[in-house]
Structure formats: C-alpha cells, structure tokens
C-alpha cells in the first residue's frame, strides 16, 4: 500500500452568516484517493461546508484556513480552485436554457472529444444518442439532471470531488449506477467527499466525519460513524424534521 497523502486539510475553520455561527472549530484532514463522507442531520452545516470549500461567493469570509495539497486556497475564487482540481456536484443542479448537454459537458471536460463525452453519459446510464443534443434545462427530470451533473464531473477529471446529497432525486434503480460512478471517480484518481444525511450513501465511503450544529462531533471509519449516526443522529433528525415541518425522506 502506498503512503497516504493529505489532499485537503481544514484548520480551525469557522463561518458566520447573518451574525450566526454556521460553522465552527472545524479541524479535519482528508486523505488522497479515498471516498470520504461528511454525514449529519438536516441543518448541520454540511452544504455550507461544501460551499466554503468550493469558494462560492457568499461563503468566502471564513476564519481559519483551507489547505489543498498543502497550499492555502482560501483567497482563491471558485474557478481558480476548480483549475487546481476541486469541484462540486450540487444537490439540486442548475438548469441552463439553450445549452445542450454536449456543450455543458464540453465546457467542463479536460478531453473534449465527442467519444469522451459519450463515455461519461454511458457511465451515468444516459444514452448519448438521446441526450447529447438535449438541452440541459428544465425539460430534464431531476434524476436526469443529476446524472448529467455527475457526467460533467467525470469529464472534468478532478482531483477532489465534493458531491452534495448525491442520491437525492435519483430513483432506486439508478442509485447503484451512481455508486459505481463514485468508485469510478476514485479509480480515476479523484478523492471524493460525499455530503449526505443518508446511511446508504455513508456506507459507500471509507472514512467519515460526523457533523452536527456546525461542528465536527466525531470522525473515523465509516462503520463506526454509521452506527453512531444510525443510533443517535437519525432519531434526533426525525424529531428536528417534525418540528420544522420538513418532509423527511429517509
């Protein structure tokens, strides 16, 4: 086994939004070449953390530091971070009027050859013949759009992929396909961080962090975190969802 390297390190990371502490005291390191999960109940701060890592405009005023391959990236804009090899798959991806799936994939792709785009669509279970010319707009179902999102990440060949709730909106049959693609990303050399509140997705990871109330409560092997999450967080989350009137889908 090769020596593990740290691809991403978070040092005393904290973020306030609207005067509220949303993330606090986050210290973590992610190893290169494996699938990680950041798991936690609704409102824990997981998506916020993903936005901070990607450097999205509303999430730039952080305390602490983010090191990617040993270098601070906290002053870099989103596109500069992407150029270094970091990307994010949104929970609910954006729709683009008038942009074909081919053009969307091409914009993302390192190798823009048609055959490469086709391969990526095949990998997510969409037939290139039927989809390349379709627009990446609201005529796609949620699940289709989500698969296109993953395909656009495959062709980008990133070093670190953040996937926010990769299973949401995906039907049961397609879910295994998604899990295959996550392994594929890993095989292609990308480290993966799955952002999730699903036990099923958590099980796809090797290492996991447990988030609650904007902080990290625990970290370790996925098995260890799974049982804690199942026993402690899910009942709490159910209660939270009921109080907030959020439809609970797990």
């Amino acid at each position: 086994m090769s020596k593990t390297e740290t691809i991403l390190e978070l040092r005393d990371l904290a973020l306030k939004l609207g005067g509220k502490n949303i993330l606090q005291n986050i210290n973590a390191s992610f190893e290169s070449g494996i699938v990680h999960a950041v798991v936690g109940p609704n409102g824990a701060g997981k998506s916020t953390l993903a936005s901070v890592l990607m450097g999205l405009p509303d999430f730039r005023y952080i305390e602490g530091d983010i090191l990617f391959e040993g270098k601070s990236i906290k002053k870099l804009d989103t596109d500069k971070r992407a150029k270094l090899g970091i990307t994010l798959g949104w929970q609910e991806p954006a729709r683009f009027d008038g942009i074909s799936i081919r053009d969307f994939l091409k914009a993302s792709a390192k190798d823009k050859a048609e055959e490469n785009l086709e391969k990526a669509l095949d990998a997510v279970g969409l037939s290139p013949k039927n989809y390349l010319n379709r627009d990446c707009d609201k005529t796609l179902s949620g699940g289709e759009r989500k698969r296109v999102e993953i395909a656009s990440i495959l062709v980008m060949e990133p070093k670190l992929t953040l996937l926010d709730e990769p299973d949401s909106g995906i039907d049961v049959e397609a879910l295994d396909k998604m899990f295959e693609v996550m392994q594929m990303l890993k095989q292609k050399g990308s480290s993966v961080i799955l952002i999730t509140h699903s036990l099923q997705v958590l099980k796809q990871s090797e290492r996991a962090l447990l988030m609650c109330h904007g902080g990290i409560r625990d970290s370790g092997s996925s098995e260890k975190i799974s049982s804690y999450f199942h026993d402690k967080c899910m009942p709490c989350d159910l209660k939270y969802a009921a109080e907030q009137g959020i439809p609970y889908d797990r």
């Binding site: 989103t78 596109d79 683009f96 053009d103 656009s152």
Partner: protein, 319 residues
C-alpha cells in the same frame, strides 16, 4: 413579376458584397426549387419564384413595395431566401410588404437584413400580413449589423390570422451593434389560430432595444406565445412591452421574457395580460437581472473563468 437573374457580372458587385456580408454567395441562390429575392436599397438585384408564389415589386424612392401572394393550397417546400440591405454608410431603406397567404397554403421565409457599413442607416419595414384559413406563415428575420451602432431598424407589422391559421416569427440580432431597434407588431388571432413570436437580441455600447408586441386572442381556442430573450451590457437599454389579450373561450396565451443585464445596462419588461372571458387564460413569466448565480457558480466550479461562463450562459439564452 418574372425572374430577375441573380448572377455575378465580373467585378465584385453590390450583390456579391451584400451576400458575402450574410455568409452567402450568388451561386448558392441558383437552386431553381428555392425562391429568393435580393434587394439593395430600392433596387431588386435578383429574384426567383417557384410555383404557388407570386411576387410584385415596385421600386419606390428609398425602397420597395412588395406584394407577396401564396396561392390557395400551395405548399412552398423550401424556405424562401430574402436579403434586404444597404452597403453605403448612410441612407434609408423602406420595405413595404403586403403578404397574403391563401387558404391552406404554407410558406416559410428566411430574411437576412444586412447593413455592414452603416453609420447612419434607417431600415423601415411596414408589413400587412393576412393569413387565410388553415394557412401557415413562418418568418425568420436575421439582422447583421456593423460595429458602429449607426443602424436604426423599425419593423412594424399588422397581422391577421383567420380560422386555424398559424403565424410564427423569429427576430434575431445577435451579431454586431443593434444601434436602435424599435419593433412594433400587432396580431389578431381568429378561431383555432396560433401566434408565436420570438425575439433574440443582444445589445451593447449605447444600443437601444424597444419591443412592442401585441396579440389579441379573439377567436375561440386561439393560442398566443410572445417570447423575448434579450442580453444587454455596457450602457445599452432594453424596453420590452408584451401584451396579450384574450376574449374568447378556450383562448390560451403565455408571455415569456428573459433579460440578462450586465455592467450599467438597463432592462425593463412590461408584460400586460388582459382576459375578458372566463374560459380564457394567459400566463406570464419574466426574469430580468444579472446572470443566474447558480449557473455561473456551476460553470466556474468546472473551471471556466467568470467571463467564459457568462458568455456561455448568454449564448444559451440567445439560442
């Protein structure tokens, strides 16, 4: 009128230059199954007709008066190619059109309007279009302007749709400066007829875009769709006034306006919907503002610079 041979005469002619400004050559117009008309200022440089299509052109001061008739039941298979334009830097071109589509006829026209050297050019179009029962008229107008902003375009039309008639028009100006464009269209829609208008315009520097489109859904089960896609930057201005009225049972309409605004540009949209029958329905949707931030962030998270991401999003909007 009879054909006026569209051919090259030795030295580069106005015809060649006009056609090359729209990426065409005279040779491309030689297909005898495709009708065409090329007008420079007030001179017809070439024309060709196909069975079922009648055209009478009178050259007037500063333009032409054209009477276009599509015979009853005539189906014109290939889109008719029209080119209106002016090569000089200054002047006025006035196109007066009287279009009549006979019952159950079908035609599609692609009009290229080109003013590649314009410094002060006015292009005025006044059209009356009558589309008889069951007929279909499609009109696609693409403008190619120079970079000086010296073109003023005034397309004006009154359209009347009879029972089951279809009218679809698209106006595109995405290359070169707009200058000033002031569109004024009014359509009355009879029973079971359908109206579809799309404008795709991109303006910059101090361009001015004005659209005033009205559709009256007066016939039972008539349909109307007004669609505007506008991008403005620098100090360009866009004012979109879309009005649909519905006064008959089963009439359905939708007004859709999307405008992307950058820099110090200003865009406004005034969708007016007026329904005066309980079984009619019109909806409208308008989105005006900067580039959608989620779209922008997504493309940037795939490595595109902000500039490239905005360009791709606007290209999509204007497609």
């Amino acid at each position: 009128m009879t054909d006026k041979k569209t051919a090259r005469h030795g030295a580069p002619s106005a015809l060649d230059e006009l056609l090359s400004s729209i990426n065409k050559t005279a040779d491309e117009l030689h297909d005898k199954h495709t009708a065409h008309l090329v007008v420079h200022h007030n001179k017809v440089l070439g024309s060709h007709l196909v069975p079922g299509l009648k055209l009478d052109v009178e050259e007037i001061k500063d333009g032409i008066r054209a009477v276009i008739r599509i015979e009853e039941n005539a189906v014109i298979k290939n889109p008719v190619q029209i080119c209106f334009g002016m090569l000089p830097e200054k002047g006025t071109q006035k196109i007066i059109m009287d279009v009549g589509c006979g019952r159950n006829s079908k035609i599609s026209i692609i009009a290229h309007c080109s003013f590649p050297n314009a410094i002060d050019i006015s292009h005025i179009m006044e059209a009356v279009i009558n589309i008889e029962d069951g007929a279909e008229y499609r009109y696609f107008e693409r403008h190619v302007h120079g970079e000086s902003g010296g073109t003023k375009v005034y397309p004006k039309a009154k359209v009347n749709l009879k029972k089951g008639a279809r009218f679809a028009t698209e106006f595109e100006l995405v290359k070169g400066r707009v200058g000033l464009i002031d569109i004024d269209y009014e359509t009355t829609c009879g029973e079971d007829s359908s109206l579809e208008m799309t404008a795709r315009i991109s303006g910059y520097a101090d361009d001015i875009i004005k659209i005033n489109e009205t559709g009256h859904l007066t016939g039972k089960n008539s349909r109307g769709f007004l669609n505007s896609r506008i991008a403005v930057r620098d100090t360009a201005r866009a004012e979109i006034f879309n009005k649909l009225t519905a006064s008959a049972p089963g009439a359905r309409g939708h007004v859709d306006c999307k405008e992307i605004v950058q820099d110090k540009a200003v865009a406004s949209a005034i969708p007016v919907v007026e329904v005066s029958h309980p079984q009619a329905r019109i909806t409208h949707e308008a989105a005006i503002g900067s580039v959608d931030s989620k779209q922008l962030q997504t493309l940037m998270a795939r490595g595109l610079s902000e500039k490239d991401a905005v360009a791709l999003i606007i290209k999509g909007l204007l497609k």
